[in-house]
Symmetry: C2
Subunit: 375 residues, 2 copies
């Protein structure tokens, strides 16, 4: 199958010039800004040097944040992990062991399937069943049509690789009810859970109540350094700590990630609606340009994918020119699609959008519309 | 088998008072000082906020340090890992896969056997053969007497759990030569490699030349936050990156560990002889006290174990009194041995020893000798 790579790996020499144009643009419309040491320094500015390190998963520095996140997610208990890759494999392993069944089900473009070098299979011997076509969301009928029993179903909300799409909340509820009735554990890949709450108009705890286990991330829209939380019942999270040690994730000190996650969580959790509304507005403006379309057509989070009906190399030249003329950068790389006929990129609204003067954004869209029409 | 736990887990309510006495003592003779956020802040004080993050194992921030460590260890290539637990399991997995043999050999008190919740077995299906008695070092004859072929032999230098003992360098050379002749890969658990170089009077590269793969740690005597390096030939380290992603250790940003490791490596790598000589001197003074013995009797690194020929609870009261009267703390916890008849603790010389006034140290040993003689 076609395995899209993480953005950082997609840069080829030809893309370098687009990356350069993006990196040197006066403004950037997406994200929170470059990942620099400043992000760490800012988070630690107000933290006393006298604060104790966590020690192999113990101590107030880690336990307090875990309690806060458990409460936020409405779960009994939560464990901080260095990465979602580690947290999610472990969640699935625990559910598989409990069911004595090494099969799980997830979307073909699930993070575990395309970004983790098959860790789930190679380390845990778990066999995933891919539900739905890669281009659409998992539906109740997909779950009902499973030919063999699975220990766990993983749902990613929103489904990142198809632009950040979401099922209707009612569909989520029936999938959850169906899984409970069949003894299938439901796990939430909530890497971007915060970002969908304004659209669903639900609290995190309300959404998480539909799931047996939940993973959330602190370096996407929260903008922290790295780190993840895995939450569920205490027996589940206690087991996850044993696996965290087995994976080599039970570090003597995780506080660089814990304290920065806490800092940026507090700074940005209240801005998710602003980011979401910004995405809805910008998506409509992209959609209005010739040869440009967005997916989903109306965003349900702060992210969407922008598709260009022209080859990647051509579009790179167009974008370089747009950035240069408007001073506004959109992305540093494009992903090829349809055998080279089209291309796309992922757009996420963060703090930076608010700092770009409106007339620059207008100019950027004017240039984009003009140049893409002329090709 | 008897599985000693990490220090942090050994604290029981009764020990708490010893931990308190240690934590509140005016001076501490061991280590570099408490693990507090100050350790991070100091490392980052001189680092520009404008420095780029590493990105999923790529970028100058990580690659430069990896090159420096590869050179220091005399290996072709090196990879930064969040933990040694992760790095070492992966090293053994690669050697097992190459040999198509899931058996490795190591000491009964190897870190992988007693501190990692059996990750090697549970995640990698590798079956370790325990060489030597737990109370002594692995010798050439142990390796020669292996009844079945193994893919890899792991040697830990020094062998921490028995006080930090070392084989004679000549024995190491013959073990290495024997393994090469038999096609057995030799892996170095070098968690405390820096610390033994003064005793061996060798460079790191000279020691590492005897091994096919090497792991080193940055939070023991280097005193960093966390982090490890795995080094070897490029093909080996490239494979290790794939496994690092599978384990969930290929974080978007590892720079909090990388840059602090680099900072404290540069600060302390030149002090290993000072620490080692300090350990030799202090060990002799412990040994001179009644009912007290050290292991090894003459240290070969900055560490040794102090054994008391009396029950743990009694000795805790003695130590509390020693700390109180001398103002010098030695340890926050004791490990029970011989079915409760004796107890011990691990002592490591770091930066703090040099800050304790000589007359306080004299007073501490005077009190210890007096009190332990009176019991």
């Amino acid at each position: 199958m076609n395995k899209p790579k993480d953005q950082e790996e997609r840069v080829t020499p030809i893309q370098q010039s687009l990356a350069d144009a993006f990196n040197t643009a006066q403004y950037r419309l997406s994200g929170h800004g470059p990942r620099k040491v400043e992000v760490l320094k800012r988070a630690f500015e107000g933290i006393s040097g006298d604060m104790d390190s966590d020690m192999y998963g113990k101590g107030e520095t880690i336990e307090q944040f875990q309690r806060e996140m458990a409460e936020y997610l409405g779960k009994e208990s939560a464990v901080f992990f260095p990465s979602g890759t580690m947290a999610q494999q472990i969640a699935l392993r625990i559910w598989c062991d409990r069911a004595d069944n090494k099969r799980v089900a997830y979307h073909p473009l699930c993070h575990l399937e395309i970004h983790e070098e098959d860790g789930l299979k190679e380390l845990h011997g778990i066999r995933p069943i891919l539900l739905a076509d890669s281009g659409r969301l998992i539906r109740l009928e997909d779950v009902k049509s499973l030919a063999e029993p699975v220990a766990c179903l993983l749902l990613e909300l929103p489904q990142r690789e198809i632009g950040g799409q979401l099922p209707a909340y009612a569909e989520l509820e029936v999938i959850s009810a169906y899984c409970r009735s069949k003894g299938i554990k439901l796990h939430l890949d909530g890497a971007r859970l915060f970002e969908i709450l304004p659209y669903y108009n639900k609290t995190a705890a309300e959404v998480c109540a539909l799931f047996d286990s939940v993973y959330i991330s602190f370096y996407k829209t929260i903008g922290g350094l790295a780190g993840a939380i895995l939450a569920g019942e205490s027996q589940f999270t206690e087991e996850s700590k044993v696996w965290k040690r087995r994976h080599g994730g039970d570090l003597i000190s995780l506080y660089p990630y814990i304290l920065s996650s806490k800092y940026y969580f507090e700074e940005r959790i209240g801005k998710m609606e602003q980011y979401y509304l910004g995405a809805v507005e910008l998506a409509a403006r992209f959609e209005a340009c010739p040869s440009v379309s967005v997916r989903p057509s109306v965003p349900v989070s702060n992210m969407f994918h922008v598709h260009f009906a022209m080859p990647k190399e051509k579009m790179e030249r167009v974008l370089c020119s747009v950035y240069e003329k408007s001073g506004v950068g959109l992305t540093g790389n494009l992903r090829e699609a349809e055998g080279g006929k089209s291309c796309s990129f992922e757009f996420s609204v963060g703090d930076q959008a608010a700092h770009v003067p409106a007339e620059r954004i207008d100019e950027m869209f004017r240039q984009l519309a003009e140049l893409s029409a002329s090709l």
